[in-house]
Symmetry: C2
Subunit: 367 residues, 2 copies
Amino acid sequence: MNLNKIVSPTLLLNKDICLKNIRQMSEKAKANNIIFRPHFKTHQSAAIGDWFRKFNINKITVSSVQMAEYFARNNWKDITIAFPVNIREIEGINNLAEEIQLNLTVENLDSILFLEKKLKFQVKYYIKIDAGYHRTGIDVSNYKLINQILDVSKNSSKLHFAGFLSHFGNTYNAKNKDNINQIYSESINDLNILKNNYISDYPELILSIGDTPSCSVVTDFSWADEIRPGNFVFYDLMQHYLGSCDFDKIAVCLACPIVAIHAERNEIIIHGGAIHFSKEYITIDGLKIYGQLVFLTEKGWQKPDKNYYLTKLTQEHGTIIADMDLIQKLKIGELIGIIPVHSCLTANLMRGYYITDNEWIDHISGS
Amino acid sequence: MNLNKIVSPTLLLNKDICLKNIRQMSEKAKANNIIFRPHFKTHQSAAIGDWFRKFNINKITVSSVQMAEYFARNNWKDITIAFPVNIREIEGINNLAEEIQLNLTVENLDSILFLEKKLKFQVKYYIKIDAGYHRTGIDVSNYKLINQILDVSKNSSKLHFAGFLSHFGNTYNAKNKDNINQIYSESINDLNILKNNYISDYPELILSIGDTPSCSVVTDFSWADEIRPGNFVFYDLMQHYLGSCDFDKIAVCLACPIVAIHAERNEIIIHGGAIHFSKEYITIDGLKIYGQLVFLTEKGWQKPDKNYYLTKLTQEHGTIIADMDLIQKLKIGELIGIIPVHSCLTANLMRGYYITDNEWIDHISGS
């Protein structure tokens, strides 16, 4: 990696770490004999998508019609949009359904009735189940609504029920690994009861789950049929502090130029702000943290000996709380690395990656 | 505005309101006999930039070399980069300095020494002064460092001292208009003492200031020479709750499709998340607020009778706290409007505008 080429905030991606993350998750799915359908909303990159093909991945997950269109153009033929169907986008949905195996997510009667009327091609659909996160989905015990939805597709020539899809997003509020394991167990148990009620009528139905914390921490997936983690491809500071990954599994880092050093108040100012990192934060010792400092090397970045945090962000400025030890090491114009709190949002803003072996690659928003 | 054309999250811009905001700020500057050098980091759009030309604006502010390059390509000839100079970008700086009147911002000795060595063309530079915000800048009483910087440029053929530049960003923490007025008065007073110490040596030096809260609330700018507000072009929820603007001065609104309605917990889910709004929030009654609901009309949006807020955001999902009254009014697939908390960050993410008179226009990131 030629650091001299980097003049402004740049998202570095360590390909080796990223490939290792993909391999490990892929092997975990294989060992559990379940489908691995990675979520591509984190990287949003055709080039990174291609890295998955080496592990025989051919089914993917995305979070919008726009993202499905991008990956369909890049030769992905089996795509689940894991977001409640937005019926205004029926034209895009029909175009996709004509070209690829499209799998939709339904969580209310209005949407399935609309689809039955307006779909021109066959799709599979999942019923989105709320197993405790309470963002979207039908309550896991609401058989009445589930049956109403299934009744619509029962005799449909276009809508094929694929199974139950859930996102255990409450693992992001977990305190530790035990807590993640506990949320996973309770949620998958509830889903399994649901599945057992429908398996005789729909012998091919599957349970699709898979937030990154669960997929990283849980070892036994015997009750799931498919996992859809996304963030694991890069991980980030949030996942690290949650217990999902060791620091050395984090594959992205934002290289930022130092533009000011204020020794009198122990602060370092970088070019790197809300339009690079996003304003996602975690709280450590009562302080809002937007990223953690690492030293860059020719091959990437070092695991830090001491914790220095990015604690303030405005549009283009970032403020790091330093000490004299750090201030004496750094100079105006040098580059430092910042591990982002939420790699999905940072990648979405940065719209491109500089691979630590000197290659630039794409991102949907930059294309 | 044809709402039927909108199928996914779309940033609406009311051109009439926007033009009125520009006219009012322009007239205020004229009445005070000061230079109006608007900050273009909010809209980042060549098309919106052109709207300013009707008001005889020919000097602008940006926050990065990249943004300066974009607007220079779009025929702006006098640009201030109001961000501490990033010396790694010297190549871009030299290219700009060859083509336009480029004005840089310096806040430490290392940067000015570097510029004196590496600049190939003439630039003006401001010394960035910290008048109380404590993000960047030299303390307003640190004459020693100011003199050291001026000594470097004194005999320079390329560096010309233009004056003192400051950003009173602490107005964003103000509790009310009186508080904004007070921060402004104290800060401009301190800057004026500084100016009086240098005006005999530099008779053309100016004081450049101008955060949106001050520029909106303060009426007497007699001690300033130039204002650089940016956000006023659109305003947003944060400015409204700060007291900078009435609700009807807000010129942007994100149109979002409703994808789920959960009457059992009084929640509405929209397609519209952190990658559309940003995760900037304000706190109202202890609750994090990411936006406020408005009803869309053929001509834009209505001022709300009742306050409904966007209170949770993940990558693509937004959650609105509703009541039965609201839930009975709305249907799956309908569009609602959300006034964003921070229009600069929302515009940066959305990368394009749908003008309420049916025209699409550009944004730097979309080009």
